[in-house]
């Protein structure tokens, strides 16, 4: 039986990470759209982790709009369910829409200062050329007495082509504000 240290030395210099940072965008001034382009096809799944806030001066929330491969056609669908800790506060589903959307996702500048929303979005089997692409997301925000947690899912069915770019926009025509952050990760393995 090999000595443990001997076994360990055989893997020296090799990466065992199955979760790797691809790129991170830190917003320093109002920005309308964030795009990750030329996404490498070397992973099995993609994950985006974000912290975001909209420049909208009214209180409340804005939708986070997502487009894949710059496609603006009616090639997307979405489901959404939100709860505030006591009740289901909102639910919806839409078919044949022009983007993926995370409803009521982004805290606004009209809310208390410095309150951001956060979320995790998965794009599964993004390099497959045989399957339409699916997305799942968990997101929410807390406004110290208001706010909620939501689940979102989405389908992109234009073609089964691989995802090579992902764009994020505030759907109400506002901007992402300073200190918003979008980080793209690649997940290896099945």
């Amino acid at each position: 039986m090999p000595i443990l240290g001997t076994v360990a030395s055989q893997f020296s210099g090799k990466s065992f990470s199955s979760f790797e940072s691809i790129q991170t965008v830190n917003i320093t001034s109002n920005t309308a759209t964030i795009t990750f382009s030329s996404i490498p096809a070397t992973y099995t799944h993609l994950q985006v982790r974000f912290i975001g806030r909209s420049s909208n001066v009214s209180a409340g929330t804005d939708n986070l709009q997502i487009r894949l491969n710059s496609d603006t056609g009616s090639n997307y669908a979405e489901h959404y369910l939100a709860g505030d800790g006591n009740n289901t506060v909102s639910a919806s589903a839409q078919s044949s829409i022009t983007n993926l959307v995370l409803r009521e996702c982004l805290s606004r500048n009209g809310n208390s200062a410095s309150i951001f929303s956060t979320g995790v979005i998965d794009f599964l089997d993004y390099t497959s050329t045989n399957k339409n692409k699916t997305m799942r997301a968990l997101f929410g925000h807390d406004r110290n007495g208001a706010g909620y947690l939501a689940l979102g899912s989405g389908l992109y069915f234009a073609t089964p082509a691989a995802i090579t770019s992902i764009s994020f926009t505030v759907q109400s025509s506002n901007n992402f504000v300073q200190y918003s952050q979008f980080a793209l990760y690649g997940i290896k393995g099945a």
Binding site: T33, F36, S37, T98, S172, S173
Partner: protein, 78 residues
């Protein structure tokens, strides 16, 4: 100072990050998206208000012991 909205584009193959003003076409798309959002939001709020009104009416009738309409019963019984 320009008021043209900007986008950040990260080329994941090179790591290059660019801050680029939106094109006229992208600004038009952004306005189209915002208009669609406003329409969908208004429709959703209208539907939610109608459901809330049906529930309130159904509760009132249940307490009073009066018959519910089919629509009122539908919002209470899944």
């Amino acid at each position: 100072m320009s008021d043209t909205p900007t986008k950040i584009v990260v080329d994941c193959s090179t790591g290059e990050t660019q801050i680029i003003p939106l094109t006229a076409e992208e600004i038009t798309q952004r306005e189209t998206d915002a208009a669609a959002y406003a329409t969908a939001q208004a429709e959703r709020e209208e539907a939610e208000a109608a459901t809330a009104a049906l529930k309130a009416s159904a509760r009132t009738k249940l307490i009073a012991g009066t018959p519910l309409t089919e629509a009122e019963a539908a919002v209470l019984v899944i």
